[in-house]
Point group: none
Chain length 206, copies 4
DNA sequence: TATGAATGAGGATTCATTCAT
DNA sequence: AATGAATGAATCCTCATTCAT
């Protein structure tokens, strides 16, 4: 019944080790950045005696990074998706996305910081980053068709919003402000984005 | 007027060498990113036979990076400042800043790419990045007082706008689109920012 | 008749496992050479999930290599011996040896390639290589006594013939030529060796 | 007047270091074989404090090996070429080649052993090995046209003779026999090759 | 009997920096 | 003022082997 004949199943201990290493890697990347997140640093952080251990469980640095991204993606998705889906309408969903993303900083600061750093500096871009941009774009496009967003270049705005969101998140993660402040920050940013995409008022400047 | 009495004056040749190295460093950083911009790569690009030359003229990598940032700052400022100062009013100046910054991609692509990469990845942030944020903030604050910007958290918006601008610039620098397209992109982004900060229309949703 | 009283008998499964590993090792060595034939590569080729399996059944790399050599020796011997023994006379037997050895390339290419690589690069030489040289020498010596070979330094010629044969075999194994071409090659080489060892004709250059 | 604008000139010390490293590398390869000739072993043998030194002077292992082959080639050529050119006629030249090659063992044993090992195990083959085979083949072909060699497959015989010669040389280099014995060995081998390629006597077995 | 996990030494290579000249 | 040479730590990765289960 195995759906993948080429890959042997993972034992419990292996999965545990991999998870342990991935967790350490995420924390180290969040702490010192991808560029300085060497195997030895990660191994030390994980309490492993040698870097060989990591190479044993992961095919290479790319593989480890991919595992980190996958893990982070799972965590973020678990938090954000229900909140986004609970929102009704394009505008409310945009707001929910932004606010839940900012709120994540208080819950999983390391994951958030690491992901942004990886997306910027590792070769992970194509897959992960474009997926998000595509999501944004599609959301804007359908929202424009529904008349709840004004006309604008969806690609550019997607890019700007995503990077702006990242910047806020990274900055916040560096300070780790109070939960209230975080909530306020999310709302502030959501406001900004909603206003920036709102259709012109009837009888407006047209 | 020298603020550092312990620093001897630089001779002409030394300055020339430094300039040559800085130029090469900027190009290499723009090309392969800060992380991979090693001394040997920079030396090779500069036509120098050894990395010792670089260490001789700069106290270390930090010093070289600082020199690069200073040089880039000069270049960018020379291009952008007159255009911004030619604009009248807070909104027009915001627009001028954004548009001239995007336009820079067509004029000094290497400088633009390198600076953004340095700001993100080197430890240069404090100095250069904060200066820009402060500038934005101050502009927003006075604009709000003049009533041409709606009330918002100036720090957050400064951060978001700056990073969004960077993202657009980096993306554009990767493709090097036609000048016309670059102009359109600048206008699109300026529109976005102006709308996001515009005061509510009279009799609006208030 | 066992010459080693300290070695317990092998069970069926153990023998099967060993055989499986040896077969894989031979194929890998033939494919990538002894130097790159790591345990992990062999394990992967054998469909084993870890190299521990190999270390469990063999005392070390030397032991595995010895087992490979023994296995190959059996296979080669089974093919060549009847053909050599079917030949009558020293010259015909020399010819039979050479021709059947070259012919082996078409039948057991992996074994042939692996053996030569092992003999050259592993420390296996003493045992296996010397046995062959001794065989050659003895054959030449008795042939000389019978007057069918001219006088020459048997050791040197044995060495030269063996290595020449190996070179031809390795080259042929790389191309895997048609059976006919292989037969021609064997005959060509046998001719060469027979001529090189033939006694001077009566009334010759003497 | 430099004939190579892309490559800066080598200083005296650099050339000296390179030569020192190459010499050490040749000795180590001759001693333990290419497979085990690691940078650290070579560095230790050369009295260098780190392997970084080698990487500093050579672009990589390939580069170092290439330099070794070039050096060996120079040495061998200087010894063998005059001896071969002094010989008159195809047969005498074949003899001179074989004898001077064997004699080399007494003069430059390390170079001879290292070269054979490199040719067999490094990726140097294409260039160096084929050159020698081509040389042999061409010599045989023109000799056949001149009627001093019998008809035979030049490629195969070239291969066999070259590998036989190598085997003799390697074996001799391992024992380092007396000069007299070396001379005898060369003559024996030359005899063998000459006989193997000699035309059938008039009124022979035809 | 088998095996997955772990180990630690060793592989080549790159790096920023120092130093004598 | 300049430079070529040297350094040694750090990079990721592979290796054969061991061990508890």
């Amino acid at each position: 019944m195995s759906y993948c004949l080429l890959m042997r199943a993972r034992t419990f201990t292996e999965s545990a080790r991999r998870a342990q290493i991935v967790t350490s890697a995420i924390e180290v990347i969040a702490d010192v950045g991808y560029a300085k997140a060497s195997f030895s640093r990660i191994a030390k952080h994980a309490g492993l005696s040698s870097t060989g251990m990591i190479s044993y469980h992961f095919a290479g640095k790319e593989d480890l990074v991919a595992a980190c991204v996958a893990e982070i993606d799972t965590v973020l998705r678990a938090y954000m998706e229900p909140r986004i889906e609970a929102a009704v309408g394009h505008v409310a969903q945009l707001r929910a996305y932004v606010e839940s993303n900012v709120a994540m900083v208080g819950v999983h600061p390391a994951e958030v910081k690491a992901l942004i750093d990886l997306v910027r500096n590792a070769g992970t871009q194509s897959a992960s980053v474009n997926a998000r941009l595509d999501l944004f774009e599609e959301h804007f496009r359908t929202g424009q068709e529904a008349g709840v967003f004004r006309p604008f270049d969806t690609r550019t705005v997607a890019l700007v919003f995503a990077s702006g969101l990242d910047a806020v998140v990274v900055t916040a993660a560096a300070d780790l402000p109070e939960p209230d402040e975080l909530t306020r920050l999310g709302r502030e940013l959501a406001d900004l984005y909603v206003r920036a995409t709102a259709p012109d008022p009837l009888g407006g400047q047209a």
